[in-house]
């Protein structure tokens, strides 16, 4: 049993019914990173969806910009226990990007510039649940927060919302990503507090 430090509260926070179990409210937007921040310019940026049979679908930045975008206001929950309410984003729904993709896959492995990966069921990317986001709070997404574009899947812990996203590999079998292969939960539902394997 840990001893309690009298008067220590940590960052200002309030237990909140709006928050999933074990989460604390963050006022700022913490920057988490597992490596050096990739600097990807939009002229070099490319987004690729590849299917289980090797079919590839590519978008340049220009092409992404020409797709219909949505404004999203959502709460986000990081597995390191901070949550942020009412964050505002703009991006292209995965429903739009995957519309013409032919696949029998059930799983997706999301890939990022810099080598990061994360996995999730394909159905969690569909039906208005996921976006490739490129604006945050009315500004271009900064490299620190995953710019030029990041995945946004706010109903799962935020490590699933891969920064610097560059593609999605559609798979018949589930393949664990960067954190999922190092102890973190395969699915990561914050409301069921699925932080670690076995939760």
């Amino acid at each position: 049993m840990a001893i309690v430090s009298p008067g220590f509260t940590g960052r200002r926070r309030s237990p909140d019914a709006q928050l999933p179990p074990g989460q604390y409210l963050a006022e700022d937007f913490p920057v988490l990173t597992a490596g050096p921040t990739p600097r990807v310019t939009t002229d070099r940026w490319e987004f690729t969806v590849s299917t289980e049979v090797g079919q590839r679908y590519n978008w340049s930045w220009q092409q992404l910009m020409e797709l219909p975008a949505e404004k999203i206001t959502t709460d986000i929950h990081c597995v390191t226990k901070w949550s942020k309410l009412g964050t505002r984003w703009k991006g292209v729904s995965l429903d739009v990007l995957l519309e013409d993709v032919e696949t029998a896959a059930d799983y997706a492995l999301v890939q990022s510039y810099g080598g990061y990966t994360t996995n999730l069921p394909l159905e969690d990317l569909l039906d208005g649940q996921a976006w490739v986001a490129y604006r945050y709070d009315d500004d271009d997404l900064t490299p620190e927060h995953g710019g030029p574009a990041r995945l946004l899947v706010p109903h799962l812990y935020f490590w699933k919302s891969a920064k610097w996203v560059r593609g999605i590999q559609l798979l018949l079998e589930d393949e664990p990503g960067f954190w999922e292969s190092a102890g973190y939960h395969d699915y990561g539902d914050p409301w069921r507090e699925q932080r670690y394997q076995g939760d």
Partner: protein, 246 residues
């Protein structure tokens, strides 16, 4: 002589704050009593854990700045304005209060008194802490290993252990201390303020031919710069040990 725990897994210990005092306007020294402390080598650090009423807990690492002294250890804590831990340690924690810590840890960024090679220490800001432990251990052990300290600070008000360093520079035979001021120099100083560069390190650190052990501690950018300079001056990278604190 320092004893160092080498066997057994590390567990948290309860430590009690014995005394505390300002080091500068923005840093404090905290002296803890840690019953059963196994001793440490200069350069090692501790992990410190704070737990709130509701179970929320955070952990930070701090270098030990004291020489081995029974169950006592000293930490030097820089107050980070928007920090989560350091304002609590500097402004709230009072003598008699308990916290948890574990250590000592780290077996690489350490100076072993048996090693007779000359030593260059380069500190940036609060990076002086583990190097101070080396300087103090050298004195406590009566070591004659030649030490040179190059210590970069913003202004004369930001020097940790200022009186002790002044005293030791006079009294500890074989210890040279050079202070470098990046923003403001002491009154009457002939040198303008400036960042630590090749010329200063070339002048005040041991030359590469002496194959000194170099210990560099400070913010990440500072450590990067100093290591590059040392390598450029011909030092073997394997003899340059660094501790970045982010």
């Amino acid at each position: 002589m320092a004893r160092t725990a080498v066997s057994g897994r590390l567990t948290w210990r309860v430590a009690e704050l014995a005394e505390t005092a300002d080091l500068t306007a923005s840093a404090r020294r905290l002296v803890f009593d840690v019953p059963g402390w196994p001793g440490h080598l200069p350069g090692q650090h501790v992990d410190l854990r704070l737990t709130a009423e509701d179970g929320y807990s955070v952990q930070r690492s701090y270098s030990i700045s004291s020489a081995p002294d029974g169950d006592r250890i000293e930490l030097a804590v820089q107050r980070v304005a928007d920090g989560e831990v350091s304002p609590y340690l500097c402004d709230v924690l009072a003598a008699g209060d308990q916290i948890e810590l574990r250590g000592p840890v780290g077996g690489w960024f350490v100076w072993r008194p048996a090693d007779q090679a000359p030593v260059t220490l380069v500190a940036g800001g609060s990076g002086i802490a583990p190097l101070m432990a080396m300087i103090r251990t050298r004195a406590a052990e009566g070591s004659r290993v030649p030490f040179r300290l190059v210590y970069s600070v913003r202004t004369p008000d930001d020097v940790y252990f200022a009186d002790e360093l002044r005293h030791r520079a006079r009294e500890d035979a074989g210890l040279d201390v050079k202070l470098v001021y990046t923003r403001r120099t002491p009154e009457g100083s002939p040198e303008p303020p400036g960042r630590l560069g090749v010329a200063t390190i070339n002048t005040y650190a041991w030359p590469a031919e002496f194959t000194p052990n170099c210990f560099v501690c400070g913010p990440t950018g500072f450590v990067e710069t100093v290591s590059d300079v040392l390598v450029a001056l011909g030092h073997d990278p394997r003899r340059i040990r660094t501790e970045r604190f982010g």
